[in-house]
């Protein structure tokens, strides 16, 4: 008896799902594309939303910024559920280890007094900012048209709540395992003069009817606050005996780099859209013109408080540099119209 083993290729009837075949033909496609392209319902809605007679449940008109084809934009990170969760779980594990180290060595408790004050008056209250930014991202997750856009917003919303949690954990560790400092930070957020411009900004971004405008507005603050507080200040921290600050801010800084990847690509896609590009650029310039001065004011107040505690930090100067860079970036995006 003899068996002959032969190699036989069985051609699959189809290489991928219909939603991908419709666009790219029948060829193997990534999970990201399969889980993203044309997934959102487009037609046969039974009802219009009761609270908005003029728009459909899913409607491109929830924002002035439009894409001819929302699926021409794809997340450069190619996040769908699994890679997103894996990626962030790893990041959070690392953060937890870092916190354990900080707590074990009581590094946060040993921070110089000025740095402690900076943390409670300027950094910890930012968890409320993160919370507000989460709401804005959730708005995008609900109202953005096209799965490729809205899933980025969804993940950004989860990220924001994660950032708020990181700050909370730092606050708890700094308050020797109690929530006392978080209470203090909340009072600061509600009452301190230096945080009111930011609080007002956040609340106004939350109630902006145009979801994309809110998203871009929050990004304007992000582009100032993140590089200044979590990058430049972190370098000062390293040289002035506050290494603990640097250890936890690196995660926020890393997150911000990641956030930039999808958001920059989206802004670029809006600005370069073949049909709506010109209008989009105009809208973007208008958004920047409206919100940027407020964002700048909010960030300056924060920077002043930091400089007051740490005269050598030069945070206000760092802010000016960051502002110049951000404005240049916007001028490029909007073709000098901003």
């Amino acid at each position: 008896m003899q068996y002959e083993l032969r190699y036989q290729v069985i051609e699959p009837k189809r290489q991928t799902y219909q939603n991908v075949i419709d666009r790219f033909g029948d060829q193997p496609a990534s999970r990201y594309l399969e889980a993203t392209l044309d997934v959102e319902p487009r037609e046969n809605f039974h009802y219009r939303p009761t609270w908005d007679q003029h728009r459909e449940l899913y409607d491109a008109d929830y924002t002035a910024l439009k894409l001819t084809d929302p699926y021409s934009y794809t997340d450069p990170r190619q996040f769908y559920y699994t890679p997103y969760v894996t990626n962030r779980a790893n990041l959070h594990d690392e953060f937890t280890k870092q916190m354990a180290y900080l707590e074990e060595r009581e590094l946060l408790a040993k921070l110089p007094t000025a740095w402690r004050t900076v943390l409670t008056t300027a950094i910890l209250p930012l968890r409320h900012y993160e919370s507000g930014a989460q709401m804005v991202s959730v708005g995008g997750a609900r109202f953005a048209y096209g799965t490729s856009l809205e899933q980025c917003c969804t993940y950004a919303a989860f990220d924001r709540i994660g950032n708020a949690q990181m700050l909370s954990r730092v606050g708890i560790a700094l308050g020797s395992g109690t929530g006392d400092l978080l209470q203090v930070a909340k009072r600061e957020w509600l009452d301190s003069e230096h945080l009111q411009p930011l609080r007002r900004f956040t609340e106004e971004a939350m109630v902006t009817p145009d979801w994309a405008e809110g998203l871009v507005a929050v990004d304007l603050v992000d582009s100032l606050v993140y590089p200044v507080l979590y990058r430049e200040l972190d370098e000062i921290a390293l040289t002035s005996g506050a290494g603990a600050y640097s250890l936890f801010t690196q995660y926020l800084h890393t997150w911000f780099k990641d956030q930039r990847k999808w958001l920059d690509a989206l802004i670029k896609a809006w600005a370069a859209d073949e049909e709506h590009g010109a209008e989009n650029r105009e809208h973007l310039s208008r958004i920047v013109a409206t919100w940027n001065p407020l964002a700048h004011e909010a960030a300056t107040e924060l920077a002043r408080v930091v400089d007051h505690q740490l005269p050598d930090a030069g945070t206000v100067a760092a802010l000016a540099r960051t502002t110049a860079a951000a404005e240049q970036r916007w001028a490029q995006v909007t073709g000098g119209a901003a």
Partner: protein, 94 residues
């Protein structure tokens, strides 16, 4: 000596991660034939196959080191005539 270019080939393991790599190779080498076998993607081209780090990074949406190429390939036919931080070129050198 004949003028016809010999085929070079790379066999890449078929996986989610490697799909981006294949897409990048496709983008950079217009004269490519790609055959999908069970668990394997056979790539062939006349003369040479170029893999650029930048293209791969764009397809994968993350940073990629050319060293990671080793994790993706099953075998190849040709010589690795260039392998630096930015580019890998597979071709016959003699």
């Amino acid at each position: 000596m004949s003028d016809t270019l010999r085929q070079v080939g790379i066999d890449i393991q078929e996986s989610e991660e490697n799909r981006g790599l294949v897409a990048a190779i496709r983008a950079d080498n217009p004269e490519l034939t790609v055959r999908h076998l069970p668990g394997l993607v056979k790539i062939q081209a006349a003369g040479q196959i170029v893999i650029n780090r930048e293209t791969v990074e764009r397809e994968l949406g993350r940073e990629w080191e050319t060293g990671e190429f080793q994790l993706a390939i099953v075998s190849f036919a040709g010589n690795l005539s260039e392998w630096d931080d930015d580019q890998i070129i597979v071709k016959w050198e003699h």
